[in-house]
């Protein structure tokens, strides 16, 4: 039952953490995933070559291995705690339930945005992404979304390029 009180505490952090209760199978799954990561990390760490200088007290390998071991132990502890908990911690209402299809679409839009960022240039790719994302989530305000997308990318581009002198890709406009 200890874990349920911890989840309640966690949810009170709301803002920054998203107050996320376990959703994809709880602590056991979280522990299992982190354990896999720890093992892969540890395996890679063992292949770090020892220093060619020879006489260093602590080589380049020691700390990564220690981190991997500690992460492994902590993950096992989480896995065990999740398996031993008979009752799934109650989910909290203030973390918005997720629509995985929306998540997938937003993530794909983002990936597409990143891939065309340099070829198309900042202004066009950003306008397209903003149009796409806002319109997918809110189909009723087409005109508002379009104006917002154009104004946003134009203003941000101008501030970066003309005020701060950061070069952004001009793409096909350049």
């Amino acid at each position: 039952m200890r874990s349920s009180s911890e989840v309640t505490e966690r949810s009170s952090e709301g803002g920054e953490q998203g107050g996320a209760p376990p959703r994809f199978g709880g602590e056991a799954a979280a522990g299992a995933i982190m354990l896999l990561f720890a093992l892969a990390y540890l395996l890679t760490a063992f292949f770090i070559p020892e220093s060619s200088f020879g006489d260093v007290a602590v080589g380049p390998k020691a700390v990564p291995v220690a981190i991997g071991v500690a992460l492994g132990i902590a993950s096992v502890a989480l896995l065990v705690r999740g398996l031993r908990a008979t009752v799934e911690p109650p989910s909290e209402d203030d973390a918005p339930p997720q629509d995985l299809r929306k998540l997938a679409v937003v993530a794909l839009l983002l990936l597409g945005y990143i891939l065309v960022f340099v070829p198309l240039g900042y202004a066009i790719s950003t306008t397209l992404f903003m149009m796409g994302a806002t319109t997918y989530l809110d189909r009723e305000h087409l005109l508002r979304n379009a104006i917002y997308a154009v104004v946003f990318s134009a203003v941000v581009y101008s501030i970066f390029v003309f005020v701060f002198g950061v070069q952004l890709p001009a793409g096909i406009l350049g």
Partner: protein, 505 residues
């Protein structure tokens, strides 16, 4: 003492130039905005603006970014009070009584007491920073690598232990951050670590990139993918925003106590302003003559925590300036910015670059006045921001994140890493892992490792070096007391409860 004031006068001379006044104003203004907007905190805002500050003078850049940090603490209370959605973790407790006051038609006094408390705390803690930092810096000159390593270890264990959720998950998050920190060429031996032959990885993964990916993107994803759900009613600001004489009388005590408590907690590594506000709430409730009013609109429950979280900011600057050790994710980012400008915070900075430090301190006094003037009359305007449709707000956050990642090194690889770590951060958040410890660990990881190895080679590989020097021995004992002992006590106690339960049934 006279030296402090002559230095401060020079600092004001620097901070009062037109350009730096504008940067301070932009900083506190952006800070207030990000404080008000839910899901975008100071860490995110600073991470996103790092590429912008490349081109600025170090003094201007740091004045701007520090302004965002303390400014965001002001804004966080607005949403807590008006829609019961804290803009900042540090403002979570403010929802308890703040929203209740707003429901009773007392949103004005609640917002006022938060703003005035913030001002008192901001000024007090800057004063504390100014007096404590030079003293601590002169002590810290004597610190060696062993002490630095232990201080960083202390910060890492504190952040794992004292976040408000599951300690085990915070620990895993810390270790995850440490594991990412190891990527890149080892600076001591030039050995490649976790680079998999990818040249982009040999300099390590950019800290700002990971901070944006782990903090901004998951928040944006979670909000954009949210199913439409229940929202708390937005409370209007009605009647006078001014506090009554009774409100003042009840707020003064929390202002004083919150300032001191928040500052002291801020100084300790690994604990940010959020814990300060929680502790202040608890303390006010315990000291109050009418504790039953807490949760039903007690003004002390707003004044105390809001004062404490602002005082925490000044406190958190102390270890950053004097030791170069950040105690929280936000100060970790500020440390990154110092290093980006080629400056190494630490005791030497007070000798080599005093005008910079004192200009920042002076700008904090000025910025706090600006915040008070900005916030009291304009709080209603800021509250309007809450009506921004989430789709527009969060697609803007994503676009800024991509821009921030691109502007670090101008390549697509960084943007793809942003994408990957953004998804990792999202999944970790859904499982309830806090992300701030990972971000802090990312900055401290590589520094701590270097200090550990330097200390060990000075001592010829003898681990006893950590307990042979008096300061390091004290630190070892302190780490044991705050980080290890509580766990042992808890384990023993839960064993006993388990045993009682089995014998009982």
């Amino acid at each position: 003492m006279t030296e402090v004031f002559s230095r401060l006068a020079e600092g004001f001379g620097e901070a009062l130039t037109v350009a730096n006044l504008i940067f301070a104003f932009c900083g506190v203004f952006i800070g207030t905005l990000v404080g008000v907007l839910p899901g975008i905190g100071p860490v995110t805002a600073i991470a996103l603006l790092i590429p912008l500050s490349f081109g600025l003078e170090p003094i201007s850049g740091l004045i701007l970014l520090s302004g965002i940090y303390y400014g965001s603490m002001y804004g966080g209370s607005t949403t807590s009070i008006l829609i019961r959605a804290p803009g900042e973790v540090a403002s979570v407790v403010t929802t308890l009584d703040g929203y209740e006051m707003a429901r009773q038609g007392r949103a004005g006094p609640a917002l006022s007491t938060a703003a005035i408390g913030s001002f008192v705390a901001g000024t007090f803690s800057t004063l504390g920073l100014m007096l404590l930092a030079p003293a601590l810096a002169s002590v810290a000159i004597a610190f060696g690598s062993a002490e630095y390593f232990l201080l960083m270890l202390l910060a890492l264990t504190m952040v794992s232990n004292l976040t408000t959720g599951s300690a085990l998950k915070a620990l895993i998050s810390t270790l995850f951050g440490l594991s990412i920190a190891m990527v890149g060429i080892d600076p001591q031996t030039s050995v490649q670590r976790f680079t998999f032959g990818i040249p982009y990885l040999s300099d390590g993964i950019d800290f700002a990139l990971i901070a944006i990916a782990l903090l901004a993107l998951p928040e944006a994803f979670a909000n954009m993918a949210a199913r439409p759900g229940h929202h708390d009613e937005t409370q209007r600001i009605q009647g006078s925003i001014w506090m009554t004489r009774e409100d003042w009388r009840r707020s003064l005590g929390p202002y004083g106590r919150g300032s001191v408590l928040g500052f002291l907690i801020g100084v300790l590594p690994g604990i940010g302003p959020s814990l300060a506000s929680f502790l202040s709430y608890g303390m006010e409730k315990r000291l109050s003559k009418h504790p039953e009013e807490f949760g039903r609109g007690a003004i002390e429950g707003v004044a105390g925590p809001e004062t404490a979280n602002n005082a925490g900011v000044g406190g958190a600057m102390v270890p950053l300036f004097t030791l170069g050790i950040p105690g929280s994710a936000t100060t970790a980012l500020l440390l990154f910015v110092f290093m980006m400008y080629g400056l190494q915070p630490g005791p030497q900075l007070f000798d080599t670059n005093p005008q910079l430090i004192w200009a920042i301190i002076a700008s904090m006094y000025i910025g706090n006045v600006m915040l008070l003037v900005l916030n009291l009359p304009l709080v209603g305007v800021f509250a309007q921001l809450l009506k921004t449709p989430p789709a527009m707000l969060y697609s803007g956050v994503i676009a800024f994140s991509v821009l921030g990642a691109y502007a670090l090194n101008f390549n697509t690889f960084d943007m793809l890493m942003l994408f990957g770590f953004g998804l990792v951060g999202y999944v970790m958040q859904r499982y309830g892992f806090p992300m701030a410890p990972a971000v802090l660990a990312l900055v401290l990881g590589i520094l701590a490792e270097q200090h550990l190895r330097r200390a060990m080679s000075v001592a010829d590989g003898n681990f006893l070096t950590f307990i042979e020097r008096p300061i390091s021995l004290a630190l070892v004992v302190f780490i044991f007391l705050v980080a290890v002992l509580p766990h042992i006590v808890r384990m023993v106690r839960s064993r006993r409860i388990d045993r009682d339960a089995t014998t009982g049934s």
